[in-house]
Symmetry: none
Subunit: 255 residues, 2 copies
DNA sequence: ATTGGTTTTGCTGTTTTATGCAGGTTTGTA
DNA sequence: TACAAACCTGCATAAAACAGCAAAACCAAT
């Protein structure tokens, strides 16, 4: 990389932005070598540019804004307030360094957004929107299970996904669910999603179901699992709510 | 630098602007030496010219107005336009029902946004932003190759990704690249990205490199491949441009 | 040429800015 | 947990900027 020395402060900063534009990221060590100034000077430049909102400073360098433009649409998630309550309850189950399998769905997305910034854990998912959310978090590790993408549900599905999930020994499996019923258990309407959820449940030590109350006592065509296979049920309701009693009796821990 | 002494104030200021026009920057120390006046005098001149909006005064000297335009204002919009041109050229190579492997990066993203709505093809990628873009398309099939997600580059990396890519027989591999040089070939700065690109190139019948012209004749630390391994090079320039001649001579088809 | 007023310039002392360095702390990773 | 890299804080220094003043230059009219 070309050495450019004896620059004025403004020129240095312009050059940094120029480099960012080219490569989307710059390293402090790199810059200070090329411009022949100390690391401190570069660091101060990056800090100033970051304050001015021209780049994103990270440990060791900086990232361009254009690249990390996350089209973060928190727009009209259905019954967002309730989902926020659910999110908080679900997060209370996640502990440091856990491996967490998650499905897709807006409830999970809402949870992803509420993850405390200092949390360290590994999240595994096939949901593209969930991946986006997890990537925005400073500390968590993200693992994508890959295969064909189902555009409807925006998750990866197929043999390879199932296979990969079977290799995982997760601590927790967080499922956003579409229907739950005391007799019929967890049900869903999409064959591929059902297969995926089955695999996820099998791969995790504990299974947590996230559902807004209106999904209680409803069912769909395809069975995912019975109530005995799930450990926690989280809704926006108070755990002592009448609606939840049957599930408590069936042995599910309700939060 | 020529010494020009005994100037009137007006003449000095004209000379300063002249120098700025030539070099886009002037240093106070330089000017006061050449014109044989004190630093204070030059400083006052610069101050007046800055007040009149003829230049940008900075600590130690001044910058031309053109400088600020080139380096701050137009840079984003400008390269956006360039990338759109590149996108169109790349799209012309994609035919119905092809299997297309793509890397990440803003250039690829720009291409994803320009895909014609009626196109039917299968896109395979480990780039999360690219996945997002492809998912928005009505007809294309999307395949995600999964593994650990590198948050810097927003792509999946690791053994499983590489393995999966090796199973693919793609028609086309579209690479957004960071540096290309006639001698050194394609280079990059991130080990994992390099491994991924190598695998992608090996898995596709034809390899296409997408790069804005600024990345021509530059190189980074790690080698992806030599020029002989790539089939097409796409920049925003006209294929007959002087800058591209060496690449044509090296046997690359330049679009 | 002299005078008085204005402009320009350079000088002095002080303040601000830019930069590098020493130290201790935090962070990321093996 | 240990280690190296990156970070932050405070400090020192030199360069640049600033403010105020006075000498010099300029100008116009006498």
């Amino acid at each position: 990389m070309a050495k450019i020395n004896n620059l004025l402060k403004r020129e240095r900063q312009a050059y940094i932005l120029y480099r960012l534009d080219l490569h989307n990221r710059v390293l402090n060590a790199n810059l200070c070598e090329d411009m022949e100034v100390s690391e401190d000077t570069v660091r101060r430049d990056l800090q100033e540019l970051a304050n001015a909102g021209k780049l994103i400073k990270v440990h060791g360098g900086a990232l361009s804004l254009a690249f990390s433009e996350v089209h973060f649409r928190s727009r009209n998630i259905y019954s967002q307030g309730q989902k926020a309550i659910i999110a908080e309850k679900a997060i209370s189950l996640i502990q440091t360094d856990m491996y967490v399998l998650t499905s897709g769905g807006t409830t999970i997305l809402e949870m992803a957004r509420h993850l405390p910034p200092q949390l360290r854990a590994t999240f595994i998912t096939g949901s593209i929107p969930a991946l986006n959310a997890y990537m925005a978090h400073p500390h968590i590790n993200v693992i994508a299970v890959g295969d064909r993408v189902n555009k409807e549900s925006k998750i990866t599905v197929g043999a390879s996904t199932l296979e990969k999930i079977k290799e995982v020994n997760a601590d927790l499996c967080l499922l956003g669910i579409n229907a739950i019923d005391v007799q019929k258990g967890i049900t869903d309407s999409d064959w591929e999603v059902v297969e995926l959820k089955k695999a996820m449940i099998a791969a995790a030590a504990k299974t947590v179901c996230l559902a807004i109350a209106e999904k209680l006592n409803s069912f769909e065509a395809l069975k995912v699992c019975g109530l005995t296979e799930i450990d926690y049920l989280i809704t926006e309701l108070d755990p002592t709510d009448k609606l939840l009693e049957p599930y408590v009796k069936a042995g599910v821990t309700v939060l």
